[in-house]
């Protein structure tokens, strides 16, 4: 894991000192809200429906136990004892008081964390595959490159007042778990003729106008990454629209100018930016890579795992659902579900955070990851330790065996917290999870991703959910639009809208009808929901959801 240099530490201390003074001036009335707002947003501080909200960056979703314990301490000391992990691998505190925020930021700085550029029209927290450095299918660990980009983009003088926010995601695996095609820039690490390079995807995004990103460069040599990214952001910063915030994101720029013209402009600009990078960036990447060296994996008996797997059906169910193949023999990646049925997706209490920190320290080479699917990952666990980990997770309410199933739902905070929301999303997630748990159907249903957003901005990634749910305000009543067939992987696709929306009371029955239709249609239990949908298309699902339409058509 990257440790801050003296430069990083000094920079953060100075930023925090400045913000403390800005808060003091706001409290005294010397700054108006209009003057203060851009300053607080630069430091991740929002004013939401019921309180301020502090969004803390977890760069590329990587934590160690010390960082996780600090997140727990902050939740307990200055918030209401919990935090909310988000789809951008951040953590949000929902209840800080303005006067406490400078102390919270100082506490974060102690462990090398911050809230800089988690808001505002800047390059946001760089996200990465949450299995990075551990996955069996990985070409290379993307986190050193993500850290290089974090350093490059933080306080970058050219990119502090852009047309709109800018999000970058990177994966080192051909199986895209980082949603790279729905980011302003998506980066896929690739190899060609033995050389490492990057496929650069540009202009993806969800929100009001969902777009799947387009390949602007199918093989960018490793040494060219930062000057090339700088060229892309620079071109957009100049020609991106500032007249209409809904048309300001780079996806619209790419759409309006066409990918070929954007490529030409970027190549032209790249000729200039390339000269300004002397190779020091590549040298820095080499240094950063040393921080991310793989832990010293050990070899020991797998008997405790085999015994527990054979004798304990609860453990077996969890192991079958929440483990992923690891690159090292005898190791697994553990996904800890923050989706206990009926709870708020992505929330963890301070005690739960501490337990996960303890488990990471004792059993997982002191590493933790936050996934964009709002779960916590122990990336390096020897299978012999899994029974002990499971037992302790169970005591803390963290052993739900539902990763990738229908109750492993992404849900944005929605109108329960968010000032932008047009409807609630969390209660819909709670109801769906509870309904399917009551019937004990989710393992029979198999892999199915539901993603819920409480407004058109799509923080809940609804467009790329197998079942996407979007909450809207229709004439003063919550109304939910459903899309089907979305996909967030390397086969990224925006879902198809099924038809008119559903009331809050009708959403769960609608999801049940969709699931029943799938179970009727699937060839056998190996055909997952998304594959059935791809085979049959929308029609049978539409007929199940709107039987009256079918009758009218006949």
């Amino acid at each position: 894991m990257y440790s801050y240099s003296e430069f990083d530490t000094a920079f953060l201390a100075e930023r925090n000192r400045q913000f403390r003074q800005q808060v003091e001036r706001r409290v005294s009335g010397a700054l108006t809200e209009d003057e203060f707002k851009p300053l607080r947003l630069m430091n991740g501080l929002y004013l939401q429906l019921h309180a301020y909200m502090l969004r803390v960056a977890i760069p590329y979703g990587t934590l160690n136990s010390a960082k996780m314990r600090t997140l727990a301490e902050i939740a307990e000391r200055w918030d209401k004892g919990y935090g909310h992990f988000t789809t951008r691998q951040n953590i949000q505190y929902n209840w800080p008081e303005l006067k406490d925020v400078p102390d919270m930021l100082d506490a974060l700085a102690e462990v090398g964390m911050h809230a800089i550029q988690t808001s505002g029209n800047t390059i946001r927290n760089v996200t990465a595959d949450h299995f990075a450095g551990a996955a069996a299918d990985e070409i290379a660990d993307p986190r050193p490159v993500a850290e290089l980009m974090r350093q490059w983009s933080t306080d970058h003088p050219e990119f502090q007042f852009m047309p709109r926010k800018f999000k970058i995601a990177i994966t080192g695996s051909p199986n895209d778990r980082a949603v790279t095609k729905a980011h302003d820039i998506g980066i896929r690490m690739v190899e060609r003729d033995g050389a490492r390079g990057y496929e650069i995807i540009v202009g993806g995004g969800l929100g009001r106008t969902p777009m799947i990103g387009k390949v602007i460069n199918d093989f960018l040599p490793e040494a060219d990454l930062l000057p090339y990214l700088e060229a892309i952001v620079s071109v957009w910063n100049q020609i991106g629209r500032r007249d209409n915030k809904y048309k300001a994101r780079i996806k619209i720029t790419v759409h309006e100018h066409g990918i070929d013209e954007i490529r030409r402009l970027v190549d032209e600009r790249f000729e200039e930016t390339r000269k300004t990078f002397s190779g020091v960036d590549v040298q820095m990447l080499r240094e950063i890579e040393e921080h991310f060296a793989a832990p010293a994996f050990i070899t020991k008996s797998e008997a405790p795992f085999k015994d527990a797997y054979h004798n304990d059906p609860v453990f077996r169910s969890w192991a079958d659902t929440n483990l992923t193949a690891h690159k090292a023999d005898g190791y697994k990646i553990v996904s800890i579900s923050l989706k206990k049925h009926g709870d708020t997706p992505g929330d963890a209490t301070a005690d739960q955070m501490r337990l996960m920190a303890d488990l990471a320290e004792e059993f997982a080479h002191d590493e933790l990851r936050i996934s964009h699917e709002q779960n916590v990952i122990l990336p390096h666990v020897h299978v012999s330790d899994l029974p002990a980990i499971h037992a302790r997770l169970k005591e803390a309410g963290l052993a739900t065996a539902n990763i990738g199933l229908i109750s492993d739902i992404i849900a944005c905070p929605g109108m329960d917290y968010c000032a932008l929301a047009t409807a609630r999303s969390i209660p819909i997630a709670q109801e769906i999870a509870t309904a399917f748990d009551d019937l004990k159907r989710e393992h029979e249903i198999g892999a199915l991703k539901i993603k819920i957003s409480g407004c058109i901005n799509a923080c809940g990634h609804h467009h790329v959910g197998h079942i996407g749910i979007l909450g809207l305000d229709r004439a003063g009543v919550e109304n939910y639009q459903i899309t089907l067939g979305g996909d967030h992987t390397e086969q990224a696709k925006v879902g198809d809208r099924v038809g008119p929306g559903f009331s809050a009371d009708d959403v769960v029955p609608a999801v049940e009808r969709i699931v029943d239709t799938y179970l009727d249609l699937r060839t056998d239990e190996t055909e997952e929901f998304i594959d059935t949908y791809r085979r049959t298309g929308l029609a049978p699902f539409k007929a199940a959801l709107y039987p009256e339409t079918k009758v009218a058509a006949e």
Binding site: V27, L47, Q48, L49, A51, M415, Y417, P427, E478
Partner: protein, 99 residues
Amino acid sequence: MPKAFTPKVVTANHLLAGDVIYQTADGWTRKLEEAEVLTDEADADLRLIEASQQVDEVVGAYLADVAVEDGVPVPTHFRETFRATGPSNYAHGKQVELS
């Protein structure tokens, strides 16, 4: 024909705590039922201006629609209901602590 004026309250967030507050005849309250109901448009506009000038105390003042039931204001839109009662995923937050 201009739309008839409907009853309103002035609401905002408290600068320091960030929580939801409502204007009373002589200050602010955290309870909607204690808010001053404004039934005259000119009066409401004036009260909003007064609230907006209190820059060292409140943030983002605006007029919110209410209905009057049993003599007390109640929200007419679900957004204002959640602002008045707190998150609905489970009962917690500053509004719950008040009640």
